[in-house]
């Protein structure tokens, strides 16, 4: 008995292309299945077909083939029945949690099934014990951290005692330590006899829990179905992020010489700082202090990664650089001017700030209007705006999109439009909060490569070029691949500030900061003597091949 998908095809209403084509697969109890694939490959649609949302909620698409849940065709089951067989944890736990209190959230599905109260209470306690969240039971759901929210969402599903759990990108909003904890839990659940299906493009993280079964999807089809070693062979390392040794081996064995030799910006340490923090402390109104005595300076040529666990104060800190937060103690200088005497709009001429979620800023009917909004606000003239506009669209690789509607674009495109709409203001420092969130590997590698190539430490900059880049991330590998400086924020303080190979060599610092080491970090440490600095796996391989010839 298992979940069987047979010759499944699906197309959404009003869309010509198929979302799924001829999918057949089996997911067994006691096994962890990893489904990997780039954005738009059909992973989420497959989950909806299994949990019955297609066709029961999405009624208007074209569906063929069948899904059998432990011997029963799901087409003849009610959603209420399916929910007791298959549980689903959606991508954003924030949008799955419906109750104000944790206890009520876990109870929600059971209440809907009309179970007696004693039974509900017993199951809540059992589920909370299993997931080690008893201390959260009386808490308000809104105030939970990302990792806690996910556990609570999972608890709400698990309490219904499903025989299979489907998880849609469960790691997307978690830092590496919380992500790892969540995955260990999945392993435990699988070992207890539940079928676990994880859709994820953080493949390397999932490999740590030894999935028995891997599926690789591309353009709505299953390209590979088998074990882990086979997956490593089948997957293109440019599409899906694989462990660093695998990438290096692949590139070297295939004489894959399309990797450019690395070019890195150098910090101009003689130049005056663009942004400077001097002993900054910060608190919200009467609240406790959340930043303590923070000092650092950003100079031309800096590619600075701000890393640290969820809730460490990274975003709170960087919002000072654009004047959205004002220091309670100390000083923030923008272009050597006290930020307290400047409005956000004035600072925006020097510092461009791209927020994490594009959906919090896109509003205009066309890309052209969206991109003109910022520069118009800060008083740029029409000619400059229109020149900046085409340069910004080139920079994000969407050159012909000026008349399109931003709200109708894919998430990845929206993200790039949100960056372009800051680039048109021609800031000299670009700050990006979690630039890779919600994007697949191929997408973000492409635009990060591009953004980094636009840093000019010494010459004057125009739109599309800037003097320094700062990005906030909880993806350690992103910092390793692109940054020339790492600022580690832990509990509102700067725990370390320096070149990546200096900061990340310190294992006790990583442990204290809840940052988990990665295969890319290990590979870089192993090759540091030869490379002198940190870089991406592809570049490591390229450099090694240049020096030794193909393996």
């Amino acid at each position: 008995m298992s979940i069987r998908v047979a010759r499944l095809s699906y197309a959404y209403r009003n869309r010509a292309e198929q979302a799924l084509t001829d999918i057949s697969a089996e997911f067994k109890p006691g096994e962890v299945t990893l489904i990997a694939g780039a954005s738009g490959c059909g992973k989420t649609t497959l989950i909806r077909c299994i949990n019955g949302l297609i066709p029961q909620s999405y009624t208007a698409g074209r569906l063929s083939g069948e899904v059998t849940l432990f011997g029963r065709n799901n087409a003849v089951m009610q959603l209420a029945e399916i929910s007791q067989v298959v549980g689903a944890v959606l991508q954003d736990p924030e949008r799955q949690i419906v109750a104000t209190e944790v206890m009520n959230e876990i109870a929600f599905g059971l209440e809907n099934l009309g179970l007696p109260r004693d039974e509900i209470r017993a199951r809540i306690i059992k589920t909370a014990e299993l997931l080690h969240i008893e201390p959260l039971l009386a808490r308000q759901t809104f105030l939970l951290s990302g990792g806690e929210k996910q556990k609570v969402a999972l608890a709400g599903v698990l309490a219904m005692r499903p025989r299979a759990i489907l998880l849609d990108e469960p790691l997307a909003s978690l830092d590496t330590a919380s992500g790892h904890e969540a995955l260990l839990l999945m392993r435990e659940l699988a070992d207890s006899g539940i079928a676990i299906v994880i859709i994820e493009h953080r493949v390397e993280d999932v490999l740590e829990i030894r999935p028995e079964h891997c599926v690789y999807m591309n353009a709505g089809r299953i390209v590979y179905d088998g074990d882990v070693p086979g997956l490593m062979q089948a997957v293109d390392w440019r599409e899906i992020k694989l462990p660093a040794p695998v990438v290096i081996r692949k590139i070297r064995s295939r004489h894959d010489q399309h990797v450019e030799p690395p070019v890195f910006a150098r910090t101009n340490s003689a130049a005056p700082p663009l942004i400077e923090f001097r002993g900054v402390g910060f608190r919200y109104e009467d609240g406790p202090e959340i930043l303590h005595d923070v000092s650092f300076a950003v100079r031309p040529g800096d590619i600075m990664a701000v890393i640290g666990p969820n809730g460490a104060g990274k975003t709170t800190l960087m919002k000072h650089a654009i004047g959205l937060n004002r220091p309670s103690r100390g000083l923030v200088l923008i272009d050597q001017q006290d930020s307290r005497q400047m409005s956000v709009a004035q600072i925006a001429r020097t510092v461009g700030y791209v927020f994490q979620s594009p959906s919090h800023m896109l509003f205009a009917p066309t890309v052209r209007e969206e991109l003109s909004f910022g520069p118009h606000n800060i008083g740029m003239d029409k000619e400059t705006i229109s020149a900046n506009l085409s340069r910004a669209l080139d920079a994000v690789n969407l050159p012909d999109s000026a008349e399109l509607a931003p709200l109708a674009m894919s998430f990845g495109q929206q993200k790039r439009i949100s960056i372009a709409s800051i680039l048109t203001m021609s800031p000299r420092v670009l700050v990006m909060d979690e630039p890779t969130a919600g994007q697949d590997y191929a997408n973000y590698t492409h635009f990060m490569d591009d953004i980094v190539s636009r840093i000019r430490a010494d010459t004057e900059t125009g739109a599309g070029y800037f003097k320094a880049l700062i990005f906030i991330t909880h993806d350690l590998d992103l910092a390793i691949a692109y940054a020339n400086r790492i600022v580690m924020v832990v509990e509102g303080q700067i725990a370390a500030d320096g070149a990546p190979h200096e900061v990340l060599r310190d294992e006790s610092l990583l442990a204290r900061s809840r940052v988990r080491s990665t295969s890319l970090l290990k590979a870089n440490l192993g090759m540091l003597d030869r490379c002198q600095r940190f870089m991406s796996a592809a570049r490591l391989a390229g450099l090694a091949t240049l020096q030794d010839g193909p393996a």
């Binding site: 949690i97 009520n104 007696p116 809104f142 956000v344 700030y353 709200l407």
Partner: protein
């Protein structure tokens, strides 16, 4: 930073009451106050409000901003009443003017004059007391009403499952909405957007809000879709549901309900007998 976040468990009489009893009393109070324009009786209602506030055990620190805002709002409202002498409806026929203040300028040949009469003063005073008692009583709710109890309270007051749960859902997403709004505001400010800057006429002003409203609305619509999916997947609305929470009426709760109903009946009686009308010395 609104509604649901302000609630804190406190061991006060008010928070020990059954939420249904509180709701019933609150509604009785509301309708009673609505009936009166006599400031002497309205002062009694204000006294009830003050007692309730004291019993709620809120600290000045946590409520300071709310009270200041409320004070400003009520004073403004009373001032408007004083100047216009209007609150919608005719309350007095004769005015005893005690002072007439003439503006030191003219508008198109018309010299604005503010005449202060005893009636106006008392009308403004009644308005002040009315609005103060109702507003202060209402402001207490988000501070003292457990947001997890709205659904079950109204379910037990007779609303069907789905409607009652919609209230819970609202409470759950109020803070999310306010956070989305704050994030959008920050994102647009970083693009040089300044809400304070005035330009254009009425249409221009409305267009000025688009960068704030469009993202928040679009975000809400997308969230709503996903939340519906999540609820469907957990069997919402397929059959009569159990509510985990159990509410229980105690003797005190009966007393509070009785008090509320008595107040409402007495008010209605006074109203019929003509004791509720506007009064000025």
């Amino acid at each position: 930073m609104i509604a649901a976040w302000r609630y804190k468990p406190r061991s006060t009489v008010i928070q020990r009451l059954d939420p249904r009893a509180r709701m019933i009393f609150y509604l009785c109070f509301l309708f009673s106050v609505f009936m009166f324009w006599d400031v002497r009786i309205l002062l009694l209602f204000l006294l009830v409000t003050v007692i309730t506030i004291l019993a709620a055990g809120l600290s000045w620190r946590e409520t300071r901003r709310t009270w200041l805002f409320l004070g400003g709002f009520i004073s403004f409202y009373a001032l408007v009443t004083l100047i216009t002498g209007q609150v919608g409806g005719q309350f007095y026929r004769v005015e005893h003017v005690i002072a007439a203040i003439q503006a030191p300028f003219t508008l198109l040949g018309w010299q604005p004059t503010l005449s202060i009469s005893i009636e106006r003063i008392f009308l403004a005073l009644s308005q002040l007391v009315r609005v103060a008692s109702i507003a202060a009583m209402t402001i207490l709710i988000p501070y003292t009403f457990d947001p997890a109890l709205y659904g079950i309270t109204f379910r037990r007051l007779g609303l069907p499952d789905k409607l009652a749960f919609a209230l819970d859902l609202t409470m759950r997403f109020v803070p999310s909405l306010s956070r989305d709004f704050a994030m959008t505001m920050d994102a647009q400010k970083a693009r040089g957007y300044e809400l304070e800057r005035r330009e254009g006429g009425l249409a221009g002003q409305a267009r000025k809000l688009a960068p704030l409203l469009v993202p928040v609305i679009v975000h809400s619509i997308i969230s709503a879709e996903e939340i519906t999916d999540a609820m469907d997947l957990r069997a919402f609305g397929t059959q009569p549901r159990t509510w985990l929470r159990v509410l229980k009426f105690n003797r005190l709760d009966y007393a509070v309900v009785a008090l509320g109903l008595l107040m409402l009946a007495a008010s209605a009686g006074a109203n019929l007998l003509g004791y509720a009308r506007f009064w000025a010395p």
